[in-house]
């Protein structure tokens, strides 16, 4: 015959269940609060967050798409402006996802208001997910703005909607995580700007946004395959025009692996308190 639990153990179980439920609810509300705060920041400073990518994209489309693009002719069997449009959208997603998290998290660290979160019961993974979601929100918002701009200059078709959405989300999350890691290590504003200027921008420009790597000599083609942005841009472009310089399945595999590796590394840094706890 099964043993009847004592009233004390029943009460303890009920208390533990209530605590666990309370913590889950608190985590959900905490996560929502970070996302609301990040989105509020993006909207509050829209002149710095949403407007510049629209202007930059317009200039790219006018100069590279129309003026130079007419002389370039077809690329991969498509109009040049149609070929570069997905890459330009992706470029804005990359820089804005990264920039949002690096500036917001480093700003909170520098201004010490990060402590508001650190002293709260929020677990580190919620803090990380909250900031990454903020980066994703800005990446998607800017991506939508640049897509609207591109519709003025290019005829955008949809070949595979799932590929478009998966590529943009995975890319945005990857670079939001990258921005977070940069912010954790950064000790001053120079270190915040170093990675975007000296690493991110060259990788982006050599990531096949403006050209097909088939145009490159063999050694440069091999080198390009070490650039993760090449896979992101091509997976995204595949979603629009059905053309890719790389194997699309491999591209998604690389993106998923990058997200997992960067997430684990960022969480490890937070758990160790690197750069944020003494």
């Amino acid at each position: 015959m099964p043993e009847t639990p004592s009233p004390a153990s029943v009460a303890a179980d009920a208390r533990d269940r209530a605590l666990a439920l309370g913590l889950r609810r608190a985590r959900r509300i905490g996560y929502q609060t970070i996302v609301i705060r990040e989105w509020g920041r993006i909207v509050r400073i829209w002149g710095q967050t949403l407007m510049p990518p629209a202007i930059t994209a317009t200039l790219y489309f006018i100069i590279f798409g129309n003026l130079i693009g007419r002389r370039v002719g077809a690329m991969g069997g498509f109009d040049y402006v149609q070929y570069i449009a997905p890459g330009l959208i992706m470029m804005s997603v990359i820089t804005n996802s990264y920039g949002n998290v690096v500036s917001s998290f480093f700003g909170a660290k520098f201004g010490r208001h990060l402590e508001e979160m650190l002293v709260s019961p929020l677990p580190n993974w919620i803090i990380l997910c909250g900031y990454v979601s903020g980066g994703l929100a800005r990446g998607l918002a800017v991506g939508a703005v640049v897509t609207l701009v591109s519709l003025v200059f290019a005829h955008l078709t949809v070949h595979h909607l799932g590929a478009i959405l998966a590529a943009v989300v995975l890319t945005s999350v990857t670079f939001a995580l990258g921005g977070f890691i940069n912010a954790v290590f950064a000790k001053n504003f120079d270190q915040v700007n170093f990675v975007p200027t000296f690493i991110l921008t060259p990788l982006t420009y050599f990531g096949g946004i403006f050209y097909s790597i088939a145009m490159l000599p063999p050694w440069a083609q091999h080198l390009s395959h070490a650039n993760p942005i090449l896979y992101m841009v091509n997976a995204f472009r595949f979603g629009f025009i059905g053309f890719s310089d790389v194997n699309v399945v491999l591209a998604f595999g690389i993106m998923i692996a990058l997200v997992a590796a960067l997430y684990l590394f960022a969480l490890l840094l937070l758990n160790r308190g690197t750069g944020i706890r003494e």
């Binding site: 605590l19 608190a26 905490g30 609301i36 201004g111 402590e115 508001e116 019961p121 003494e278």
Partner: protein
């Protein structure tokens, strides 16, 4: 129940500085507790460990029975912290700051807005709720940090020098507010360099120096240990020399001011009788320094001597 229990807490920073050397401390639920110490004594490090901003090197700490090592989320949900340095986003409004802070503790937004109104009104910040926080005066910023710390209605409120740089009128209104909060059941731990503040508000006290607790007692007991007190007396008529009152050490400070040092056994009545006999008409009197300050200085000096001998 103990609001705080700390056992053998040590902290050695990467640069080798040993900020805490085996601190043992207990604070009872409902207490208004003073944690005093000179600059660099380890107060802020101790608070940093309790709020997880500083990682301990060894030891154990429990908040309302929740072990910081095993139940960090539960322990932190019991604590509200008012730090020494201003640490909110200067570009956000007071209303946003306190509502967001409640969210980090899992308080739904509708409830947070109600509480924000209550605490911002109580701390006279309601009129400023929508402006940028950086436009607030120093005293307002301190009060905003108190409002923020109260948003999740913590059972333990830790205030690290909350009235530093605040004028006396606002300081007294903050004292009144903290007394009310304590009367409603919130345990308060206060660190301050204004010893009058600690003497006025706190029932129990610990003094920390060089990373160790050198004294822990009821405030009343500690003050009773004071062996001598120095009083400043103001006379109506000018005094050319210090009057001689048998049994009392009197020093002339200026034409109208005397200092008298009394031991615990001596009575003020006897002093006044002696002064009257000398024809000195005393119009006012005060302690030369705050009584707690005298005790504090002696304990810290003793601790320093012991450290030097060691």
């Amino acid at each position: 129940m103990q609001a705080l229990s700390v056992r053998g807490l040590t902290k050695t920073y990467d640069n080798g500085v040993q900020a805490l050397r085996g601190v043992d401390l207990e604070v009872e639920q409902g207490d208004f507790f003073a944690l005093l110490g000179p600059n660099g004594a380890g107060k802020t490090t101790l608070i940093g460990i309790l709020t997880s901003l500083v990682r301990k090197s060894a030891g154990k700490a429990c908040i309302f029975g929740h072990d910081l090592d095993r139940q960090l989320e539960l322990a932190k949900s019991c604590v509200g912290i008012v730090p020494q340095e201003i640490n909110f986003n200067m570009f956000e409004s007071p209303s946003t700051i306190v509502v967001n802070q409640a969210g980090f503790y899992g308080i739904p937004r509708a409830v947070a807005r109600e509480r924000a109104e209550r605490y911002l009104k109580q701390l006279q910040l309601w009129d400023k709720r929508n402006g940028m926080a950086r436009a607030l005066s120093g005293g307002m910023k301190r009060r905003l940090m108190i409002a923020r710390a109260l948003m999740h209605e913590p059972r333990l409120l830790i205030l690290d020098e909350p009235t530093a740089g605040v004028d006396i009128e606002i300081r007294r209104s903050m004292w009144e507010f903290l007394r009310e909060i304590n009367a409603r059941g919130t345990t308060i731990i206060l660190t301050t360099h204004y010893l009058e503040e600690a003497e006025t508000l706190c029932r129990n006290i610990a003094i920390i120096d060089r990373g160790a607790i050198v004294e822990r007692d009821r405030m009343a007991n500690l003050l009773r240990r004071l062996q001598t007190e120095t009083f400043v007396l103001n006379s109506r008529a000018p005094l050319a020399v210090a009057p001689v009152v048998p049994g009392f050490a009197l020093t002339r400070v200026d034409d109208h001011t005397l200092e008298a040092e009394l031991s615990k056994e001596q009575s003020l009545n006897a002093l006044f009788a002696g002064l009257t006999a000398c024809g000195v008409d005393v119009v006012s009197m005060r302690n030369k320094v705050n009584r707690l300050e005298e005790v504090f200085m002696r304990l810290v000096e003793r601790s320093g001597e012991e450290a030097r001998r060691a």
